[in-house]
């Protein structure tokens, strides 16, 4: 995973609450066996009509948001299915920061595995950021979002922050605890399946 860098970009406002992972990436695209190439299917049913032409009324299809790296969405973003394909699609499309007043747990966790920073802010601040038309800067190191008019600080668990900033390989870290895992297994009361 690449280390997370400072992000400066205009925001894409997605003015919806309870955006579920079925909307982020519909089921027909879960059959692929690789992690890449999901960006073109992001928000598929909202982005394209039945003939696969772009729908003019969906925010991602508005050219002024081209190249945006920051998505600002309503409450409970990423609810529903555990499909990590949702994060792969957001990442592949070009988003590296997602801001909402709350995230579903599994989606939130999946973001950190893919170098995406989910930021939780008060819903009044989220509403305000959705109106922001100038580029904003997201500085993870200092936990601050800089807009033209103000600096907004945000909270993040220090462990998760470190993972993003250093782009750590989770599994390699864990395997350093091999001895502790083996010790645990020796004492475990739950028998093997087979």
């Amino acid at each position: 995973m690449e280390p997370f860098q400072k992000v400066t970009s205009i925001v894409t406002p997605l003015d919806k609450v309870n955006v579920d992972t079925d909307q982020i990436i519909p089921k027909q695209f879960l059959k692929l066996v690789q992690k890449s190439g999901f960006g073109k299917f992001l928000f598929f049913n909202w982005r394209y009509d039945e003939n696969e032409n772009l729908k003019s009324d969906f925010v991602l299809n508005d050219s002024k948001y081209n190249g945006s790296k920051i998505l600002v969405a309503g409450d409970n973003f990423g609810c529903g299915s555990s499909r990590e394909h949702a994060v792969w699609a957001l990442d592949d499309y070009g988003f590296s920061v997602i801001i909402s007043s709350s995230f579903a747990d599994i989606f939130f966790s999946n973001c950190f595995k893919n170098g995406i920073l989910p930021i939780v802010l008060e819903s009044t601040i989220v509403d305000k950021l959705q109106q922001e038309t100038s580029p904003i800067e997201v500085d993870l190191e200092n936990q601050v979002i800089k807009t033209n008019s103000e600096n907004i600080s945000f909270e993040i668990n220090s462990h998760k922050k470190k993972i993003l900033l250093e782009g750590l390989d989770d599994i390699a870290q864990t395997l350093q605890f091999e001895e502790k895992i083996s010790n645990f297994e020796e004492k475990s009361t739950i028998p093997s399946v087979l």
Partner: protein, 471 residues
């Protein structure tokens, strides 16, 4: 101070713990299916890693298997590739697989308990949000993403932040437990706490309204914990739990000594406290029908659809969500639920496709026919459920009523296989999600219990099953 059941399971699985950081938690059971695993196995290959404990890992194919004739080749090439990929991965990494022809094949959350793989006090993960189902046995069961699937395959552990505890106490007795079911209890809970009400928590369901339930009904409750936003749902194991798991194909040999240990240890202490509590009284509860595009948008069968104002309680964003939902569902506020006509009926999914669900639904339709213009199907949760149902003659009851009787799989719960709604079609479904397009692009889903779905199939619209004298 006393501890909750969740805290006891958590503490007994800590491998590494540091202040203010996630804990490394040991995983006792890892269930794998074809959709969320291929990229995880690829990751292992790229880094030259092995599966640490193939003996704690079990795989099946459920999400995109066809439910029609299994002797025919799979027509959808991408589905066929995904299924082949799982076969190859299981072979390469030495994992036990219940493939499409296995008598043990089925929805992963149906076969786990049925085979005695799910155990009280254990930690269970699967790359599927409905893993919460296994919590019905007093297991800490978590849905995870594909990166975490790879992590568990490689290390048999997961880094987890300790969730908060949420007590959902269900009090009272249902007047007619054949008409008002476990599905109606969990939909009522979600309607009240909201789809994000459980975020960051593990729910423990307690009270007379829960202990009264059979194991299969308890699975329906825990299954939909994720629809309330919770990380997992738990029910303390009792005699029903221990009896259910005895003598299954994979029940451990030292089962009775495990039961003795579980009886002592797997309960919330009387003086334990929860981070929050919600109480539901079920004495007067009605059958539930969802009307919108998330499971919290649900009302009683004898009510009419609320206005966005009534639904949102003054929250402007929720109001907008309800307006969008009604537009998508092509429904108007004030319409009586019983006046909503349906085109399709789906009895299936990891929520409601176990033997009891099929028995209860069959009682509603016995000797009757599906309404003209309604297409109805039953998809048993596993091949074993299908076989047991056929031994009881349930297949004949459904087929005589003009239901389609299918092979086991996830099917139209998420429509990854050919079983999907056409745009605009309205479905009474026993599944767990009524999201836009979930059952097919443009399809409209109403979540209900198996008896409500069966009654809707016969009548062509929703009916209050309390009027049917079910027993």
């Amino acid at each position: 101070m006393g501890k909750t059941l969740f805290e006891k399971i958590w503490e007994s699985h800590i491998v590494v713990e540091k202040q203010n950081e996630p804990a490394l938690i040991y995983i006792d059971r890892h269930l794998v299916h074809e959709v969320t695993s291929p990229q995880a196995f690829d990751g292992l290959r790229m880094n030259d890693r092995k599966v640490r404990r193939p003996d704690l890992t079990i795989a099946t194919m459920d999400h995109n298997v066809p439910t029609s004739d299994r002797s025919l080749p799979i027509l959808d090439q991408t589905s066929a590739i995904q299924i082949k990929t799982l076969e190859k991965n299981c072979e390469d990494f030495g994992i036990k697989l219940f493939d499409i022809n296995s008598p043990n094949q089925g929805i992963v959350h149906v076969i786990g308990p049925q085979l005695g793989i799910t155990l009280p006090g254990s930690t269970i993960v699967c790359g599927d949000s409905h893993t919460s189902t296994h919590g019905a046995f007093g297991a800490l069961a978590l849905g995870i993403g594909t990166s975490e699937v790879e992590h568990v395959l490689a290390s048999q552990t997961l880094w987890l932040e300790k969730p908060k505890t949420f007590e959902v106490r269900v009090e009272g007795k249902r007047k007619n437990p054949h008409a008002v079911t476990a599905k109606d209890i969990i939909l009522s809970i979600i309607k009240n706490i909201g789809t994000a009400g459980g975020t960051g928590t593990v729910i423990e369901y307690r009270g007379e309204g829960i202990t009264d339930l059979s194991m299969e009904q308890r699975m329906t409750i825990c299954n939909m914990s994720i629809e309330g936003g919770a990380r997992a749902g738990l029910i303390a194991p009792d005699q029903k739990t221990f009896d259910y798991l005895r003598n299954r194909e994979y029940t451990p040999k030292n089962y009775e000594s495990l039961v003795d240990y579980w009886k002592e240890n797997l309960k919330t202490d009387p003086d334990a406290t929860f981070d929050k509590t919600f109480v539901l009284d079920i004495n007067e509860i009605a059958p539930q029908v969802s009307w919108g595009t998330n499971p919290g948008m649900t009302c009683d069968v004898d009510e009419s659809i609320p206005s966005p104002d009534e639904f949102s309680n003054g929250d402007a964003n929720q109001k907008k969500g309800a307006e969008k939902a009604l537009e998508y569902m092509a429904l108007d506020s004030g319409t009586l639920i019983e006046d909503i006509k349906i085109d399709r009926v789906f009895i299936g999914s990891c929520t409601n496709a176990r033997l009891e669900d099929l028995i209860e639904a069959s009682k509603v339709i016995q000797g009757q026919k599906v309404a003209p213009n309604v297409n109805a199907m039953v998809v048993p949760g596993s091949q074993m459920v299908k076989k047991q149902a056929e031994e009881m003659g349930l297949d004949k009851i459904f087929i005589d009523a003009n239901f389609e009787w299918r092979e086991a799989g996830c099917s139209m719960c998420l429509g990854m296989n050919p079983d999907i709604l056409s745009p605009g079609e309205r479905c009474a479904s026993t599944s767990n999600r009524n999201f836009e397009g979930r059952q097919g692009n443009g399809g409209r889903t109403h979540l209900v219990s198996p008896v409500m779905a069966a009654a809707a199939a016969i009548n062509g619209h929703f009916v209050d099953v309390r009027k049917l004298n079910l027993n």
